[in-house]
């Protein structure tokens, strides 16, 4: 394993927390990024450490350029370069398009898409030098597939998939893979209050954060070295 660490944004709970635990189980020192939920992030770190792994919690609002840069600088000092980057931080602000405010639009795009661009840009230089990198972007089935009331969320996730593919082809020859996972309905805080999906899912249940994290773990592994520019859908058959 090359010397460096894994960074999971928005890792205080849900898919991010599960991904952090999964990467730590594979031996990566993990930076558990959070914006506000310090208690959640500390709990993730404590669980990782209780299982023999290495992790730190690190606060940064990834929609803020200065905070993101400060986070990378701190991680570089403590662990070396970020060689596995999981862009998981995401927010929702649902409303029908005619009623979406500029603020609701911008906030979702900024956290879900622009932040991933910023962290990726920052991580790629050291990955290029290391001739190794794994970037996994947590997209969504809402992007390729419409869901009324989520035009901003869908735009951010569809954009994230396009970004994933483009960066993947830019850096593939340097041993860096860039992929996305597209979760369907997963039992997390982000999907609380979302209705009308149950009959549409062939598996007739929501997925779990651990099931998505298993896919993140695979994409970050040496075994996935020939997988890049791909989107791995984790949705119980919803998109089939």
């Amino acid at each position: 394993m090359p010397e460096g660490c894994a960074l999971v944004t928005g890792a205080a709970r849900g898919i991010g927390a599960a991904s952090a635990r999964a990467l730590a189980a594979d031996g990566w020192p993990v930076a558990v990024n959070y914006r506000e939920d310090a208690a959640g992030a500390k709990a993730v770190v404590a669980q990782i450490e209780s299982e023999g792994g290495s992790a730190i919690e690190i606060q940064a609002d990834v929609s803020d350029a200065a905070e993101t840069e400060a986070m990378f600088a701190e991680l570089s000092e403590r662990f070396g370069p970020v060689l596995v980057l999981v862009n998981n931080a995401g927010v929702r602000a649902d409303a029908l398009a005619p009623q979406l405010s500029d603020e609701e639009w911008s906030r979702v795009i900024s956290t879900n898409l622009s932040a991933a661009f910023r962290t990726t840009r920052r991580a790629l230089g050291p990955m290029l030098r290391a001739r190794f990198g794994r970037i996994v972007n947590v997209a969504s089935v809402v992007g390729p597939r419409a869901h009324a009331g989520q035009a901003n969320y869908a735009a951010s996730k569809a954009g994230l998939i396009g970004f994933t593919k483009t960066v993947a082809v830019e850096v593939a020859r340097r041993g860096i893979t860039v992929n996305a996972v597209a979760p369907g309905f997963i039992e997390t805080k982000l999907t609380e209050g979302v209705d009308g999906w149950q009959d549409a899912v062939p598996a007739r249940r929501a997925g779990t954060p651990d099931e998505v994290a298993a896919c993140v773990r695979f994409l970050a592994s040496p075994e996935a070295a020939y997988v890049t520019g791909a989107t791995l859908t984790v949705d119980g058959g919803l998109s089939a």
């Binding site: 790629l124 230089g125 050291p126 290029l128 030098r129 830019e170 850096v171 020859r173 340097r174």
Partner: protein, 82 residues
């Protein structure tokens, strides 16, 4: 944090980093163009990271895109460090 550097220091680092990137290492010189050396934009990103790691100087996309020769890159790094 940037440290003062000499042209020869920068040249030594850049020449060494260019060696695995080019087909003909004997073609590496201050006068060589990146195009002649077949050094592309991704290689330049990597060289920028080397500069940051070795000398603490951040070169962004705007800085790098107009560089034509190895000598221009050396001179840019020295200028930024001073």
């Amino acid at each position: 944090m940037a440290t003062a550097v000499s042209p020869s220091q920068v040249q030594e680092v850049l020449f060494k980093e260019l060696e695995p990137m080019v087909n003909d290492t004997s073609a590496i010189s201050r006068e060589a163009t990146f195009e002649d050396l077949d050094v592309d934009s991704l290689d330049l990103v990597e060289l920028s990271q080397v500069i940051e790691d070795e000398f603490g100087i951040l070169l962004e996309g705007e800085d790098v895109k107009d560089l034509k020769t190895v000598g221009e890159a050396i001179d840019l790094v020295v200028a930024r460090a001073s």
